[in-house]
């Protein structure tokens, strides 16, 4: 029975002019956004790979100089583009693309691509994810609002139920029919997207690419199922199809345009973001503490003199300048970890609010999951920041150790041998399981929606439906 109802729904939809127009639009937009996403990905990842190679080259081909000068010269870390950014660019336009790794300082990521666009960019990116999160739900709403309400108005619903068709079978059958129709529309884009993904080589940046892609597809299907179930549930209960449409369009508007903004406000009331001036000032105050440095250096001096059993600093077999520089780094690292840690924790807490707010608007849940799996959310940006900072600290330690190992009266100069001691910066994105852990709230919320909406859809009593 369910199968028959589904087939009837599908055939009816395929004959509907509105369906053809809408599906052509969805198809065109998703194909266009995928093509542009792919081109953008190809361009940017080429540029970043070239820059990363060039910065390594510059590091290796430095002239002979003191290791600390080399540390000041530093290197750049360029954030690689995730191949799945073809589907969902996430927060990528709003975070910097590169960071300078130099001595004494954890710099911020600079150059947000959004600053290199016109104001119209703020209306949103036409990405495949945007299409899936905003347009497809609208498509579902428009195709389903009259599923029950319309039949009731025409009187066919009474007929059907009098034949002994179970209301639940009817609901499930209609959902399946709509699902099949949707599948027909999205299949070409999905095939194309997967092909594009397999064609991209990411140099090992994103491990578990197929897993992520498969999960992405699965979660979007859940999201569509939620929207379909909600739509059918409303259609089964609304007095008229007109009312069903109004309710569903309001839901769509609130879900896709309003909720994210309001929740962002709430999140920043709960966990306020500091201004750059305040943040910098607080950090500088802790960095520039001469007494603290003196205390640390005295302690290190005493430790070293005890270790080498000498009476004066000059008698140490190591260059104390290296020790002192490293001690400065250690102090800085503690301050950076505390301050940046606090800032990023604030962002993470705000993002948890977004995730939980998915309970009100499922779009927020799928958005978090989608960005997470595409490796374009803030948490993965933070993961990269941490990796880059770790690399900076490695450079500092290598340089300072070398200074320490070369106590000379004259100026000490190092060469390529030392530069090569610093390995190339290689970043590997976290595994898909890590992402699932981060987005657990959103995933939970999506499943909760699915269960509740499915239950709600299949439960309208036959009498209520008439």
């Amino acid at each position: 029975m369910v199968k028959r109802i589904a087939r009837k729904e599908l055939v009816e939809m395929l004959r509907d002019g509105r369906f053809r127009v809408l599906s052509a639009a969805v198809l065109a937009v998703s194909l266009l956004s995928l093509a542009v996403g792919w081109k953008h990905y190809a361009d940017v990842s080429r540029q970043h790979a070239a820059a990363q190679a060039a910065t390594r080259d510059q590091w290796l081909h430095q002239t002979k100089k003191n290791p600390h000068s080399a540390a000041h010269y530093g290197v750049y870390a360029f954030k690689p583009k995730s191949p799945l950014a073809i589907v969902d660019t996430g927060v990528d336009p709003y975070v910097g693309v590169a960071v300078w790794l130099e001595a004494h300082k954890q710099n911020e990521f600079k150059y947000r691509p959004a600053q290199d666009r016109t104001a119209v960019g703020r209306f949103g990116d036409m990405t495949a994810a945007e299409t899936l999160q905003v347009l497809v739900p609208l498509f579902i709403v428009l195709m389903t609002f009259s599923a029950f309400a319309g039949e009731r108005e025409q009187g066919t619903l009474r007929q059907l139920l009098s034949l002994g068709v179970e209301p639940r079978d009817l609901a499930v059958g209609k959902a399946a029919g709509i699902g099949a129709a949707l599948g027909l529309v999205l299949l070409p884009s999905a095939v194309l997207g997967v092909t594009a993904l397999t064609l991209t080589s990411d140099g090992g940046f994103l491990s578990g690419k197929p897993t992520r892609a498969a999960l992405l597809v699965a979660f979007y299907l859940i999201y569509f199922a939620v929207i379909t179930a909600v739509s059918l549930g409303v259609s089964a209960r609304a007095r008229s199809s007109r009312l069903a449409l109004v309710v569903l369009l309001s839901f769509w508007f609130a879900n896709s345009l309003v909720a994210s903004r309001v929740v962002a406000d709430v999140a920043s009331w709960l966990h306020p973001t500091p201004s750059a001036v305040e943040f910098q000032k607080a950090m500088d105050a802790e960095l520039n503490k001469p007494e603290e440095m003196e205390r640390r250096l005295d302690r290190r001096k005493a430790e070293l003199m005890r270790q080498y059993k000498v009476e004066t600093v000059d008698a140490l077999p190591v260059a104390f300048s290296g020790v002192s520089l490293q001690e400065g780094e250690n102090h800085g690292d503690e301050v950076f970890d505390a301050h940046y840690g606090r800032l990023f924790d604030t962002f993470d807490r705000q993002n948890t609010v977004y995730q939980l707010a998915g309970l009100v608007a499922p779009m927020l849940a799928i958005r978090s999951v989608s960005m997470g799996l595409a490796s374009t959310d803030f948490q993965q940006h933070r993961h990269f920041i941490t990796a880059a900072e770790g690399y900076r600290r490695l450079i500092q330690r290598t340089m300072n150790d070398d200074i320490m190992a070369h106590p000379t009266r004259t100026a000490y100069l190092a060469g390529r041998e030392l530069w090569e001691k610093v390995p190339e910066f290689e970043y590997e994105a976290p595994a898909a399981s890590w992402v699932l852990g981060n987005t657990r709230w959103s995933i939970g919320v999506l499943f909760a929606w699915l269960v509740v909406a499915a239950f709600w859809m299949s439960r309208p009593l036959a009498t209520a439906m008439l």
């Binding site: 927060v91 709003y94 949103g124 994210s260 406000d265 750059a276 001036v277």
Partner: protein
């Protein structure tokens, strides 16, 4: 009749709540920005006080101090101790639209460093929040306002026809177009009245001063934009109504047009502009600047000689040769890097300018973009005002270098920090703002008039009975 319709009251309620919330948000953001700017000014004042005390101490004690820690050294003053903030003040009507002000920073710390590193600074914000955008009054006006207009107008004639009351009304000596005009007039009075009164009330309640210079003109421009945008959607509703289709069809057509003009076209424009004129990733610029600095640093002494050839008046010779030469080489390198980086930076700016040009033409196809531009202009949070600010930042940067560099060449020391130039923001001419807003307004009004006129003519052939 309208008063009896519950939907109108629901709509008015939603609208009022949305406006109140949006205004609160706008005011909060303007306060945050003002606080940040005040913090910047305070930080600078505090720093200046501290270095002045330090300078006096050093002058009196005349004890040796490391050149890098000496604020009297013009190189160190210009780059580390003395940088001054260039700030973009928050406009009087800023709460009306957050616009680009959350993305484009409103203060820069101007030093002798390369211009590119100075303007690469940005305000701290959760990237997720930048991505989803803000619930400000502009959002309510651009997205919600047209929807509410369409909700009260889509069936203004068709429902009467469907109920059969239209023929009755027209049996009176009244023309259909007069009736329609009356209906539109009443509805526009109601909706525009709600928007204007609530916004202005909220504006006054939050202590926004309308007496600030230019504020009143801007408020009038804002009213004009709200009127023109409303007129456009009323014009559209009249046009669609005049086809004499049933209410449901009207609703579908109007909702589709809204989706197309407000949601789809802006992101499509963005897609087209960024694809046709892509601004390459800034990593290319970083690399170009770095290569230029390496080459310039390598050629440091040659550059120094050349600089003296260009500026013989500055080659006075004297003591403290090493430090001074270091300073001078640094200046020469900076100048050389700026010269070499210029073409690369220009390429970015040209691409961005091309994008802007394209959007400036395309935007006449989407009233949403026109409206957003007009609202940003009125609030002073748009791209043009920020560009105006950046030009002044550039000039101030040149002025700052013009202050520091001669001191370096004269081997002078800074004794009085108050001689350092300060940034004074020169506000855009109100006439320039008015011109931009009026152009956007004309772009809204012209199609409104055309649609209303066509609709009016078509009403003569309106099928009065179903």
């Amino acid at each position: 009749m309208l008063r009896a319709d519950a939907t109108v009251w629901v709509i008015a309620g939603i609208f009022a709540a949305g406006i109140g919330y949006a205004m609160m948000n706008g005011v909060r953001w303007a306060d945050f920005e003002r606080t940040a700017l005040r913090a910047a000014v305070a930080e600078e004042a505090e720093r200046y006080q501290k270095i002045q005390t330090q300078i006096i101490e050093l002058q009196q004690a005349d004890r040796p101090v490391a050149a890098f820690g000496d604020a009297r050294n013009p190189t160190m003053f210009g780059s580390r101790f003395g940088p001054r903030y260039a700030t973009l003040p928050v406009g009087p009507l800023a709460p009306l639209a957050i616009g680009q002000s959350d993305l484009l920073p409103s203060y820069f710390k101007v030093s002798t460093d390369a211009r590119e590193t100075i303007v690469a600074a940005s305000e701290i914000e959760n990237p997720h929040r930048l991505l989803v955008g803000r619930f400000d009054l502009a959002f309510v006006l651009v997205f919600l306002y047209p929807l509410l207009i369409l909700a009260v107008t889509y069936n203004m004639l068709s429902s009467e026809k469907e109920q059969g009351t239209l023929a009755l009304a027209l049996s009176q000596p009244v023309a259909l177009s007069t009736l329609a005009a009356g209906k539109v007039a009443l509805r526009s009075l109601l909706l525009v009245g709600i928007v204007v009164s609530f916004s202005v009330l909220a504006l006054l309640a939050t202590g926004v001063s309308v007496t600030a210079p230019g504020a009143l003109v801007r408020l009038v421009l804002w009213l004009a934009a709200v009127g023109a945008y409303g007129a456009l959607w009323f014009g559209l509703a009249v046009l669609v109504s005049s086809f004499g289709r049933p209410s449901a069809t009207n609703a579908t057509i109007l909702a589709t047009v809204w989706l197309l003009l407000v949601v789809m076209l802006p992101s499509l424009f963005n897609l087209v502009a960024t694809t046709l004129y892509p601004v390459p990733s800034r990593v290319e610029m970083i690399q170009a600047v770095r290569v230029a600095s390496d080459e310039a640093a390598g050629a440091g002494s040659t550059l120094l000689a050349r600089y003296y050839e260009d500026h013989p008046e500055l080659a006075s010779g004297g003591a403290e040769q090493a430090m001074n030469d270091f300073n001078i080489i640094r200046v020469a390198v900076d100048v050389d890097v700026a010269k070499r980086a210029r073409p690369v930076v220009d390429r970015y700016e040209q691409q961005l300018a091309r994008q802007q040009q394209m959007i400036d033409r395309l935007r006449f196809l989407s009233p949403a973009v026109l409206m957003q531009d007009a609202l940003n202009d009125v609030a002073g949070t748009g791209t043009p005002r920020h560009r105006h600010f950046l030009e002044q930042v550039d000039r101030f940067h040149a002025q700052w270098r013009g202050f520091v560099v001669p001191l370096i060449f004269q081997k002078a020391r800074i004794t009085d920090v108050s001689t350092a130039p300060a940034f004074v923001y020169d506000e855009e001419a109100t006439a320039a703002v008015a011109r931009r807003v009026l152009i956007s307004g004309m772009g809204l009004l012209a199609p409104a008039v055309v649609m209303a006129w066509i609709g009016h003519r078509r009403l003569r052939r309106y099928p009065v009975v179903a």
